[in-house]
Amino acid sequence: MPPTHQVTALLRAWSDGDEAAINALMPLVYGELRRLARLYMSRERHALTLQPTALVNEAYLRLVDIQRVRWRDRAHFLAVSARVMRRVLVDVARARASLKRAGGIQRVSFDEALVPAAWSTDLLALDDALNTLAERDARKGQVIELRFFGGLTVEETAEALHVAPRTVMRDWRLARAWLSRELKKTIDDA
């Protein structure tokens, strides 16, 4: 495992627009995520009682030397975390999909267990739909990213976006309805 300041630097580089940084970052993040998910599952009877923010935060806290991070604020850190999480999960789902297309190896590798098979198709469709939504209405796209991938609460999302919780709820409701409709279309088309 690289020293934490290295991870911090990678995360910052990526948030500043260095796309190459994420390639180095991702294996670290999902390795840690997987370990933590497993740990949490052993503690909790049901995944429903998971505290997603705690899990995501813990993953980053272990990877990042929080003292050295000079993020603009906590909200910004959470927002970047959510984006990394999206990249990690979508990447795993994509790998799984290409494996399936290749038709060959049935064995799922260690990290791919992170994304359940049935879910990965939906996840890829969601990622596409989310990109479309963001073009139209950037804030609604962010609300979904923060809440779904980042596990943020309505209040945390409001804080990250500097809007009222009520606005987050309104955005969430419309974006959610729109996305389910888009995903349904994708499935119907397929």
Binding site: R34, R38, A47, L50, L61, A113, R147, R170, R173, L174
Partner: protein
């Protein structure tokens, strides 16, 4: 799609959502006139709104489920004689599984070591040596190490399997009661003593390593921390072992809190290191909060404070030197603190918690009832509920040999009820606005009280089968006569002095308030009707009355003027009438109200619930409740103290948020700096009140008073440095105080043989406003905190003053007088008076809510 188009869809969608379902169609037709595409788009979004979506559960939850669905590698496999059943947990030292020992056919817990470690021969050797010494520890409160083994390259430890929850998990629900915490502490100290004598130090004592089982607290993972330490040395030479064995930042944070300073510094741990961790753990059990070296909350009893304080000394030399000393100290504290026999026991069936709940319902609320059902209790402040605690040293009688009973006076202001004091049934009367219930002497053996129409006299039956009345003002008891067998099942007092008495076999009987023979109210034909006519109730004209028949479980309407009776409904409980036109009856444990025209004897509309968890009499199963003519309902609640939720509201009544979790809170008062709330919480074990402080930001409660007696009515000093409260630890409520930081002892502010409890402070903190009872009425006065501390009452008027608060300029006292003549249910005239002159002035229309806090 353009951004503009999207914004239009968005706006129409939100507007449609804001409308009621039945008017959405119309709205959409208008808003999307000529734009069918827009309408289709919005309709599709509205349709999707109600459906579940992939984004509903955070992505991480799905990830966790995915990970969980992988079958853990060892489940189902066998390690020698051990067959792995399931994964129990994942710790720093590897995964823990439940397994079955097929040879001995018992469940065991198996810890599997990370392969990288197991490959290190030097580690394996030390590990085996360590395990051997631990396995020799045989103590009921130490998790036994059965075996260490190796199977096809997998190294593992076999331990006793314990069923229960960890102390860590338990503490998430809040601190433990004192007696229970002491019990666990003694068990753990005993376990430490045993291990230390064998030369084994735990090194990682913390709530997560203490399992609470049916047979008490058991210490887990003895000595494993040392093995872990060994392993991290090993890992320094083995790159591959790193992820599994390095103490990660997160784990370290969790454990750091329990580590002694010398351990953090990397010095070697000894028995005193465990004693430090024990102190932190015990402090957390008692307060729910973590202490640190040389810093902890004040604990009571003081001996316990000393015990814990000495565990937490930063320098190991200043701590208890052995667990044996610590154990002796704890055993002494426990013996001293054990409740005296008089504090426990009582007459009620164990486990049954009862309080009298009085529901004051205004007429407006009653009228609104017709539109509400059980799932939508009345809101808008029309319904007021308050719970009356059982009088000190008495218990509510509603079963067993005595007859239950409570009766609310016709004007709804006083409650008469039967409670047991020193083994004898006695009538108690309590004005709803006062804090105390008064026993009525001379009413020994009382059962089933009922009020006279003018509300001054209470009639009751005695065990000796006589009918008596007592004037609640003068206390004069009068014997009206003895009753025939089977009579005495409820009575009603008519406006003309007629008293109608229920009986089990002779139908309703009558007599007069002046005494005289008991004769049948009317001739009844026993062949056509059940002759058991119980719990009569007069209707507003004073001629008609209702009664309940048991065991036929029917409710009837009759009149003193006519022999016939008319069945109203089937009911498994007595019925009452609630003005302006409701019939009250029971349905299971709920009290129901249904519109009722008594002149026609006809019910209409639907029944709605007024109260749930109403107690029933254990003998005849009758629901125990009463209703006054003006709409106050009293019932015996069988669910303990209702839970309340502290909630912030702004001055307009808008709900802003909550503080802490729901609990049986009462009398919340905010500290002057707004950071803490002092509250009364009912102790679930002995049913007495203690004062707790709640952190407004975190909602974290910490206990403030620890006396087994009732500690009530907290009041903050103006600068917030002290909290005054009332306590009946000396037998009667007196005023005590203590620094609000929890330090020091409770100090008696003023000793009085009469009830005294604090209500407010003067702004300069020179005097306390207190409450006391004079001639049965609550009065307020000032108690100077300087000089001789002589209490001084304000002018005594024939009224009760339930609260007293001084204005910020110190010139006015606000109080809530409850004058007999002007009283109205639910609202009281608000008055103020000059502190100096002691005279009252009314402020007209203002309303006084007092300090009533409703449960929700």
């Amino acid at each position: 799609m353009t951004r503009e188009r999207w914004q239009l869809i968005s706006a129409v969608y939100h507007e449609a959502l804001a409308r009621r379902l039945d008017s959405r169609g119309l709205y959409l037709r208008e808003a999307c006139a000529g734009d069918d595409e827009l309408r289709r788009e919005v309709e599709a979004l509205l349709a999707a709104d109600g459906q579940s979506a992939i984004v509903d559960a955070p992505a991480v939850a799905a990830v966790a489920r995915g990970v969980a669905s992988e079958s853990p590698s060892f489940v189902g496999r066998s390690l020698g004689v051990y067959k792995i059943v399931k994964l129990l947990g994942v710790g720093g030292m590897g995964e823990v599984y439940q397994a079955r020992d097929t040879r001995l056919d018992r469940l065991v817990a198996i810890k599997i070591l990370p392969p990288a470690l197991a490959a290190d021969s030097q580690f394996r050797e030390r590990f085996a040596r360590e395990a051997r010494s631990i396995s020799r520890l045989d103590h009921p409160h130490i998790c036994t190490l059965y075996d260490v083994g190796e199977h096809e390259g997998t190294s593992f430890i076999v331990m006793q399997y314990l069923e229960g929850e960890t102390l860590e998990k338990r503490l998430e629900k809040g601190p433990l009661p004192l007696q229970q915490a002491l019990r666990y502490a003694i068990e753990i100290a005993g376990a430490l003593d045993k291990a230390h004598r064998a030369g084994i130090v735990h090194r990682d004592l913390k709530p997560g390593n203490i399992m609470l089982t049916k047979s008490g607290a058991t210490l887990l993972d003895f000595g494993l921390a040392k093995m872990a330490a060994v392993s991290s040395i090993a890992s320094a030479t083995s790159e591959a072992a790193l992820p599994a064995t390095t103490i990660t930042k997160g784990v370290l944070l969790g454990t750091l809190a329990y580590m002694a300073p010398e351990q953090i510094d990397g010095r070697d741990a000894d028995a005193r290191t465990d004693i430090f961790a024990f102190g932190i753990t015990l402090h957390e059990m008692l307060t729910g909060q973590r202490a640190s070296a040389d810093k902890h909350q004040a604990l009571t009893p003081p001996a316990l404070d000393h015990t814990v304080g000495r565990c937490l000394a930063g320098d190991p030399d200043d701590r208890w030197q052995t667990a044996a000393d610590l154990l002796r100290e704890l055993e002494w504290v426990e013996t001293e603190d054990r409740p005296q026999p008089s504090d426990v026991g009582g007459w009620l069936t164990p486990g049954r918690i009862v309080s009298v709940a009085v529901v004051a319902v205004t007429l407006a609320a009653a009228a609104a009832f017709g539109m509400r059902d059980l799932r939508a209790p009345a809101r808008d402040g029309l319904l007021m509920r308050l719970t009356i605690p059982t009088p000190p040293h008495a218990s509510l009688a509603f079963g067993g040999a005595g007859q239950p009973g409570l009766a609310i006076s016709p004007d709804g202001t006083r409650l008469a009820f039967v409670a047991q004091r020193d083994g004898t049934m006695l009538l108690f009367v309590r004005a709803l606005d006062s804090l105390e219930s008064h026993p009525i002497e001379g009413t020994e053996g009382a059962a089933l009280p009922f009020w006279s129409p003018e509300g001054r006299t209470v009639g009751f039956f005695t065990e000796a089968k006589t009918l008596k009345t007592v004037d609640v003002v003068s206390g004069h008891v009068r014997v009206l006569g003895s009753m025939p067998s089977g009579a005495g099942f409820g009575a009603a007092w008519g406006a003309d002095g007629t008293i109608v008495i229920g009986s089990t076999s002779s139908g309703l009987l009558k007599t007069t308030s002046a005494g005289g023979p008991m004769t049948p109210l009317r001739q009844i034909e026993t062949t056509t009707r059940d002759s058991s006519e119980r719990f009569p109730v007069f209707l507003p004209d004073g001629r008609h009355l209702m009664y309940w028949s048991f065991p036929s479980n029917t409710a009837w309407l009759t009149s003193v003027d006519a022999p016939d009776a008319h069945q109203i409904m089937g009911s498994d409980s007595p019925i009452k009438y609630l003005a302006p036109g409701y019939l009250l009856f029971g349905r299971q444990d709920a009290l129901m109200a249904q519109p009722f025209d008594w002149r026609r004897g006809a019910l209409s509309g639907t029944a709605i619930g007024i109260a749930e968890q109403v107690a029933r009499h254990v003998n005849n199963n009758a629901l125990i409740f009463d209703a006054s003519a003006n709409g106050t309902i009293a019932y015996v609640n069988d669910a303990g103290t209702p839970l309340a939720q502290l909630t912030w509201f702004d001055s307009r009544g808008k709900r802003l948020g909550t503080v802490g979790s729901p609990a049986p809170y009462r009398n919340p008062t905010l500290s002057p700096d707004g950071k803490r709330v002092a509250i009364e919480i009912t102790n679930s074990v002995n049913r007495t009140q203690d004062i707790w402080l709640l952190d407004v930001d975190t909602g974290e409660p910490s206990r403030f008073t620890f006396d087994p007696a009732n500690d009530i009515q907290p009041v903050w000093s103006p600068n917030g440095d002290r909290i005054l409260f009332g306590s009946d630890r000396s037998g009667v409520f007196n005023v005590y105080q203590r620094p609000s930081n929890g330090a020091g002892r409770d100090e008696l502010v003023a000793k009085s043989s009469a009830y005294m409890s604090p209500s407010g402070f003067t702004p300069d903190a020179s005097a306390v406003i207190y409450r006391t009872v004079v001639a049965g009425l609550m009065q307020v006065g000032t108690l100077p905190l300087v000089g001789a501390r002589t209490p001084r009452l304000f002018d005594r008027k024939p009224a009760s003053y339930s609260q007293g608060r001084v204005s910020p300029d110190g010139k006015w006292l606000a109080s809530c007088p409850t004058n007999q003549a002007s009283r109205r249910s639910g609202s009281k005239a608000f008055q103020r008076r000059a502190v100096e002159s002691g005279r009252f002035r009314g402020t007209g229309a203002a309303r006084c809510a007092g300090n009533v806090m409703g449960g929700s």
